[in-house]
Amino acid sequence: MKPFANEPTLELRRAPARELLVNALRELEPKLPLAVPVLIGRERGAHEGFESTDPGEPDRVVATAGRATQVDAGAAVEAAAAAFPAWRDMGANARAEVLVGAAQILRSRRLELAALQVRECAKPWGEADGDVCEAIDFLEYYAREAVRLEHGPGLLQVPGERNTMRYEPRGVCVVIAPWNFPLAIPTGMTSAALAAGNSVVLKPAEQSPASALALVEALREAGAPPGAISLLPGFGEVGAALVRDPRVHVIAFTGSSAVGLEIVRSSADTPEGQGHVKRVVAEMGGKNAVIVDSDADLDDAVPAIVKSAFVYAGQKCSAASRVLAHEGVADALLERLSGAVNVLIVGQADDFAIDVPPVIERDAQERVVRYVDIAASDGRIVGQQAKIPANGWFCPPTLVTDLPADSAVLRDEIFGPVLAVERVRSIAEACDALERSPFALTGGLFSRNPETVAEVTRRTPVGNLYVNRHITGAMVGRQPFGGNRRSGIGSKAGGPDYLLQFVEPRVVTENTMRHGLVVE
């Protein structure tokens, strides 16, 4: 295999590249709604039970999906358990070939899959294309990682004994995925589990079943045994049933803190007959802040902060929701940020000329509006784009300041286009403020002083700190991604430690001395 390289995104500054995407959407449109069946092993179940709709035009149905039941959950786990030994015994190289094959299939469908995300999740074009590329990256990266891992680490050897260490897959892995990276995140968790030799039951978010189907199709077409990758479109009760199932070994979850913590609690149970402790990998919420030092270059900081907070309407776990500005630069920063927020263009995701698409669903819209109201009463709104389309789940991107330290706007993960600016007297004070937050996913720093960069690097608890750039858009292999504290348990996706969570290490020590003779 060639060394890993990130899949290049489309060069959307070129008109022909943009046309490719627009044409792909035109071709997809008449095929909607797509049918997403429940897929358990070789069984193809119903594909009518619920619908995914276009957040920008809620009357438009993007997919109809089968609604998996708790019985389906049990059947899928059984199929996965049955498929496990053969998949495990294939060896890392053969499994890597399947993953690389699936990557190739996604690559050949990338335009169509980006168009699908534009419709199903209102992802703007650049983001949608990036998501498909990230999915391809995960497949390619974990394929190589699994091959590397199979060799095991070297151990200290002394005469008369032989020490070896190897990694074995754990068994059945449940993947519970979010809608905000509808292809990349399910692909990341699924491909890691599969590459390491586990079998997988995938429960995608109910908002984005069609993107998940594309992944399962690609894996199966590339040679993954049907039992090794089942698809259970559906709602929370299916996820809960999967998490409870005693035959499940690993649960890989990305989503809200509430659900993540519930999974941690529920999977801690070891009922009679369950011969193992479940392993949970959970990527949860964030409340990400950007620190702006007095020497920051605002020409760089303002566009980067706006991008971090408002691209995809703030619906990335890495998105910025707080800015901690040094008082020496706070006024200038606020003025420029508010001007920049006032000119944001809110509109449909399929239009290249927008900055902020709708949020995913009505609940999300209502939540954002609630926080904007709190922002207005707790503090002072200094920037807002109130011109938003009437239909669809649009919200006004909002910039707020002068909030009291205990305001919910500064504390809660809003997961929407709302950004709060706070004033600090020093960088140490900014670090103190972050120290008090239970979240530690991403963070940003704008400073041109090497000492400040070193100090914030030392003090910040966040999983991913970005210095003098936007804080979203982690790339596989370049920015292994994941949070600390209550933002996540588990290790960085797209990094060299990730696969270790899906395997158990086994060490064998053999005595090679027999009657004083070393028999190697």
Binding site: N6, P8, G126, V302, V306, V343, I345, A353, N449
Partner: protein
Amino acid sequence: MSQVEDDPGVEAELGEVGRALYGSFPQRSRNPVKALDARAMELASQDAELRAALFRFVDVTPACRSLDDLARHLSGYLSEVGEKPPPLEVAMRMAGTKPGRAALGVAAAGGVRHMAHRFIVGESPRKALPVLRELWEDGAASSVDLLGEATVTEAEADRYAARCAEALDTIAEAAPRWPERPQLEADSLGPLPRANLSVKVSALTPHIRPDAPALGREDASRRMRPLLRKARDLGAHLHIDMESLDALETTMDLIFELLDEDEFREGPSAGLVLQAYLRESPNQLDSILAWARETPRTPPLVVRLVKGAYWDHEIVEARQHGWDAPVFEVKAECDRNYEQLTRRLLDARPAVRVAVASHNLRSISHAIAYNRHSGGENGDVELQVLRGLGDELAHALAAQGFRVRVYCPVGDLVAGMAYLVRRLLENTSNESFLHEQAMGVPLEELLAAP
């Protein structure tokens, strides 16, 4: 490869032109401060770490709150340099104490200010007028460029447009009082405006989006139209600069669209920029020439041919995204392309006027020789240089009777930093012509075909 390219006549004439220009370069300045500048630049070009430290320092200077803060930044950057030349060891020791930092801060701030003044002609158009007049008297025209912070808000776009309007008024009001300089005031195609302003499309709108060029184009057009009207009414020239590739489609579309509007068919004199480092520049020239032929205007469109100032940015951007580099990565390829574009542009007259903007003696001599060879008068090709980098060259060109224009940035230090750092990068790059010249590369090598 065209025939003319291999024409030994052009090559021979080019050599003569180059040698004559080289002979009229003034002696190295005896000004001690200027020599210090030159030494700092020389150190920087020899050591990548030092170069990075110097640029980071220049870049942060206006954002520092005090001399102490300034000195702390400087020592922070220098501490990352492995082998420090003796003067920098002294600087590091000074940074260890508060009075030392104050002294270091004063010295360093003075150094940056001095460097800035070399490249930036004044804080405002009014304050720049004496320099513009002096240049004119010495036989060089000018184009004023207003430095500014990035435009991220409506207010900033409006402010930049207002500054441009004011600059046009100020320069156009003063220029008629300058003495006559016939060589700068007309070519074979007619009169040339004295007042000349360069504008940046990205500063006229907060909506530059590489993937949605129409957005920025429409918003910038609203602010560009009044400037075109003003330039037309004042008889001034308006030149639309080119920036990074991310703004290229926006900029080109805006120019083609606006200059095609009826009210601008008869003026103002206007121009655009072609960047020879772009691999696609020959195709761009195709569309520029096709447009110019379909859209005849008086006075004709001016095309300024440059190498391009965003080379590092374009390379990094492409590498980070896994895209093919849009620019030539080998200098000789870029130089060859520059000459081919020069020939095509000069051949395309009278559909366009040509301005060759370069500090490369070979490229300039080539343009002059090819112009003569294809029957042009010396005044039929404009030669442009940058203030601070091409001063000596401008002198030599004017002394030899060529039509030369100096690109003159105007603005305060904060606003000028991005510009200044770009120019410093250019000046200390090992492939820079100026660097080669300073390093004493023999003239025949400087004039050799790329």
